[in-house]
Symmetry: C2
């Protein structure tokens, strides 16, 4: 199976989409043939790199995935766009185990031609996220240094462990990433210390600082690699990508 990193966290607004876009771009720039899959009905990953959502969701159509994948302005980076079409989202969210198997095969058949795949998930632990987790080799969990972000972690870990116990499982823990890090705030250091105490090794050394260029860039349909190449956000995601590529 191709290395497939699922970026998931039930808590909303923790930087899942921003991490998916910037890690995928950093990997492509490092020479890895990279695919970004947008499973979020908001389609933020699709518009965040300047692409348009599809009418129908590619994972639900009978068309081979290859026909839906778009190449982007970044060399080595392809995207499987999302769709806002309600019936397809409903089908993906409320499905049963058998069609989640179908999705899994649909994804696996096409990703062979890539070195790395990143999947951006919606803020939920429903069927869509569980299907993405069971189609992945690793799960990466972005969290903010906030109280509410800590709360949801145990519930999330519980769901991941349940998927890891399944017979055909290949899901490993990819790591916890601290995002929107503000070293001048005491709360940031308190949560940082607590997360590292509790989860130890699996917390990435790299933290992503709060950097407004990361938000501004998405308004221009670009990553900060294009919009603000020397920003702190760009440097942090480059370091994180190196950490991930060494980890293999």
């Amino acid at each position: 199976m191709v290395r497939t990193i699922c970026i998931a966290n039930q808590k909303g607004g923790v930087g899942k989409t921003t991490t998916a876009i910037h890690l995928a771009t950093a990997s492509a720039i490092a020479g890895q043939r990279t695919l970004l899959v947008d499973l979020d009905p908001q389609c933020n990953a699709t518009s965040g790199i300047g692409q348009q959502p599809l009418e129908r969701h590619p994972l639900v159509c009978e068309r081979p995935l290859g026909e839906s994948i778009r190449i982007t302005e970044v060399e080595n980076l392809g995207i499987l766009p999302g769709s806002r079409y309600f019936q397809d989202i409903d089908y993906l969210e409320n499905g049963n185990a058998s069609h989640s198997e179908r999705l899994k095969h649909h994804l696996a058949n096409y990703t062979q031609r890539y070195d790395l795949v990143y999947i951006d998930c919606p803020p939920s632990l429903g069927q869509l996220t569980q299907t993405a987790l069971s189609s992945s080799s690793e799960v990466l969990m972005p969290i903010q240094c906030e109280f509410f972000a800590m709360e949801g972690l145990t519930q999330m870990i519980h769901v991941i462990k349940r998927i890891m116990q399944r017979v055909d499982n290949q899901l490993q823990f990819g790591g916890i990433l601290l995002t929107m890090y503000e070293p001048q705030l005491e709360l940031t250091h308190e949560v940082d210390a607590e997360v590292r105490d509790f989860f130890g090794e699996i917390v990435f050394d790299t933290v992503i600082p709060r950097d407004v260029t990361l938000s501004e860039a998405s308004g221009h349909g670009q990553s900060t690699f294009e919009y603000a190449p020397r920003s702190r956000g760009t440097r942090a995601y480059t370091e994180l990508c190196q950490e991930i590529l060494e980890y293999e």
Copy 2:
């Protein structure tokens, strides 16, 4: 029907729970008998005011709601706690129209004894949020001054309009609230101007500033009315509450 304000937005991390907790507290302090309903499987509203989630979700059990409602340390404020029990969340999320009718009646029967009800929703447009919307008299949408937050608004408004067109509908637009407002950032002013251009009157005059005491307070199981009564966050939610109570 008792005035029931549903706090909803599919976009994650925009301040739904923080707004639900602080508006409910401000209303209770202003003398309104207030009920806060936690419909989010993360149960952030429940823990954010120092309560424990329930084993089973009160809206799914046969027990009358009254038995699940807890009084809080704030006079006039009661809470219907959430639950993290997966089967109940699944049932609420994947339900059909007939059981959403049941939930609606279950909620309506018990809320008569309050002046105001606030419902905190998960970051999704699924069945649970739609049930909450159709059980409410108003919908209040918090948004951050960010590009991705703008993106999801049209999709959200589309779902709300669909519910408003139903026969038995009593849902009105309660307003759009700008949260985590940072006047020193250009992006904040750009989004502020765009939202007010597009949505005009329904955008609240009051904006909620980014204020770390709002995050710190939830770590202590309190609102800022207790934790930091003179903070900017407390003042802003007091003003917002006045705007809402005058609006009646």
